[in-house]
Symmetry: C2
Subunit: 448 residues, 2 copies
């Protein structure tokens, strides 16, 4: 879909995803009427991650950044300078405290707001953006609690404004290649997938004195210390969306199938205590702190159709980075650990083949088109493709490929896993955020 | 331990593992009094697997096979010929029906009985051997139900006769290298392990007409068809001991730690239906049969000390063979899929190293001693080492390294996983087969 955008098309695009809702009766104020060529954006949160996204976004065609917000003056001004240098026009800054984003979203020169703040702010900011009629593009996870997930869904349904969680692993080159293989039936019917956020993040949990409670740490480039309190009070899979995003797409979750329940199990917690003890001595208060988060969390998910998923969250043990994907169907299996695939009838009998073997034939059209430009940008080019697809949806007034139901369903794994862990791995049911629409929603298309 | 065996030593050897039991008061008839040099064995079940074990065993020093049993005349005679050719003496055959083993175990010229029959017979045969005062060496799994597990334990305790489940993966070269690494603290404190029996076994589930109920199939070399009915009526992890054996040793299970509960999840069942459909047409009765066993079962186990385990059972989908081990502690991680290890402070920062890097320094003493001889035999030499250690325990009148508590705890995962799957992945508690002795039993030594 491309070409000239009309209001009718926007309404149709949005409404197709909310067929059973009252979307067609939406009051006109909630519908953007941007007929200009450029997609006009704001960034809320321009720390490490937000600045990375901003730099990538400024390389897309047909965008302009009209506002930025951050509670850190230095970050705010860095973002303004970056945007001005690239686009000639300096975005307006919003830096008057943590609630200043509420003024930003009311601007009339914005089509969309990108949120890259600490986790606690994702839902409030996305909700404020949608209520002001702006597409919300929100970093992962989109929400931290079941209530927040519902708030995102209800806000999007009630306002008619889409919300895309910017899950970039869905746009990794190999993940898209696999989506293409799955859609073309090469792996057969889906049976089982695995993946994990397996990334030694201990070094980012403490400053140079072994603390995480210095309110100025962010000014010293220590942008992740806001995460550490999560490890003190929460135990489960705190960051499930990177692995579950592609898996949910392969399994048509909320688009023909759905997650029904999960069980979750965490190991003992040793990593952060040992890290502080080794770096700052056994007497340091954080060497003796009681961290709730087990070092390795494993979560099993079942789908309505009978597929199974294993998710790992493994961030405080020494290990090389590894997303650990496994994608298995009735005709074959992919394993990221081996960078290999086996397809019955195509591969030599019971021999793994390099995934490269299938690159030329099954490269996803998005990567054929965008690959050359994307590869200069973050996370193997996936940030570029993610923002490209978000901007495309905004420009065309369509639902993004990852919509608010995906955001809610992928994010809700965290609070559900925490509940299961707290209850000795008891099964915990998924809410049906689509309220039955998963049965008729169409599988994600192979976009080109 | 080696040298001359005395009755006192046998009693001491056995009793050390049953310190809290009434072992010292055992009636004398249950204690073997073999002072001869040769370890005298019988084989019950000499189909594919039993014959493979027999061939390996006949290459060990100081053994003789005095009896063999099988319900198939051809198998029985093949085993007799093999033994006679090697040792000059033809073992007596027991082939008068499935209960003829009960006569075999009563022979006075036996120290031990090796059981390699279909699964249903493992516990009855091991129990009969122990009751007749003979060490039981039983193929995996040792038992199919919780009751059978208890029967093995109680029989061994009451008779004072050891039972070793012949779990050969514990004796794989790399698994022993890892045991050595773990014992020496190189991986730190254990946190998490994974492994699976992941082996496309579809072809062995049906004969050349797509059936599995031909009582003569075994005579045609189709020795595994007895397995297929398990897939029709059971859903869970039907074959957990290969992966759990080494993992339990790394985690000191029943020797300082214990499994507390598991949760289990199975995918839909497609593989066997599709196999028959593709080979024999959609109208074949077995293409439409309702197989209970899900294609991929995943089971999570928690230990008392807070370690976690993931087990896979994946036997009816197209895939290369893979035991998929992962062994993770506070200082490092091993992944079989990568044939690699990462050890903080030793490996380059966040870079995997080939496991070979650590071979010379950490090769297990057993493999240094036996490796050259072992490698000519089955399963990478592990069958040789397994039988070597079983025979050694019999000769020295000691408990084998894998004792009856290991046999019960590793085997019981099957029925517990079936229960969890049937209850929607509800947590299921492990019985404590040691009745508290796990707290004081010593970790497995690095034997040489």
């Amino acid at each position: 879909m491309s070409g000239k955008v009309t209001r009718r098309r926007f309404v149709r695009g949005v409404s197709s995803a909310f067929a059973a809702s009252a979307i067609l009766d939406l009051p006109q104020r909630t519908v953007m009427a941007n007929h200009e060529k450029k997609v006009r954006l704001a960034f809320v949160g321009v720390g490490n991650r937000g600045t990375g996204l901003l730099k990538t976004l400024l390389n897309l065609e047909g965008v302009e950044v009209n506002a930025v917000s951050d509670i850190r003056r230095a970050h705010l001004e860095r973002a303004q300078r970056l945007a001005e240098a690239k686009q000639g026009k300096r975005p307006v800054g919003y830096g008057e405290g943590p609630e200043d984003f509420r003024k930003l979203v009311l601007r009339s020169d914005l089509d969309a707001v990108i949120v890259a703040t600490p986790w606690e702010w994702h839902t409030p900011m996305a909700v404020a953006a949608m209520k002001a009629g702006k597409y919300a593009g929100v970093e992962v996870p989109a929400a931290l609690t079941v209530d927040e997930c519902w708030e995102l869904v209800k806000t999007s349904e009630e306002t008619g404004v889409p919300c895309m969680m910017l899950e970039n692993v869905c746009y990794f080159r190999d993940m898209l290649l696999l989506l293409n293989l799955v859609r073309q039936g090469v792996l057969g019917e889906m049976l089982h997938c695995e993946g994990g956020y397996q990334h030694d993040s201990r070094a980012g949990c403490f400053d140079d004195k072994g603390n995480f409670d210095d309110p100025q740490a962010s000014d010293r480039g220590l942008g992740q210390l806001w995460y550490t309190p999560h490890t003190v009070r929460r135990n489960g899979n705190l960051y499930p969306t990177h692995p579950i995003g592609p898996i949910a797409q392969y399994m048509n979750i909320e688009r023909g199938d759905r997650f029904t329940y999960l069980v979750s199990l965490s190991s003992k917690s040793r990593g952060l205590n040992l890290w502080v003890e080794n770096k700052f001595g056994p007497a340091h208060k954080n060497a003796r702190l009681n961290y709730a988060l087990g070092d390795i969390n494993t979560t099993l998910i079942k789908t309505h159709s009978g597929c199974t998923v294993v998710l790992y969250y493994d961030t405080q043990s020494p290990r090389p980075y590894d997303l650990g994907f496994r994608v298995q169907g009735t005709r074959g299996i992919y394993e990221m650990a081996k960078d290999s695939i086996y397809i019955e009838g195509l591969s030599p009998h019971e021999k793994w083949e390099a995934i490269e073997t299938y690159r030329e034939k099954y490269e996803h059209p998005l990567w054929r088109t965008l690959g050359a430009a994307a590869q200069k940008h973050g996370h193997g080019g996936s940030d570029y493709v993610t923002l490209h697809q978000f901007v495309k949806a905004v420009r065309e007034r369509n639902q993004p490929e990852q919509d608010v139901y995906d955001a809610a369903t992928w994010s809700v794994i965290s609070p559900l896993s925490e509940k299961s862990v707290a209850q000795g791995s008891a099964p915990v049911e998924f809410p049906d955020f689509t309220r039955g629409k998963w049965k008729t929603r169409k599988p994600l298309e192979i976009s080109s």
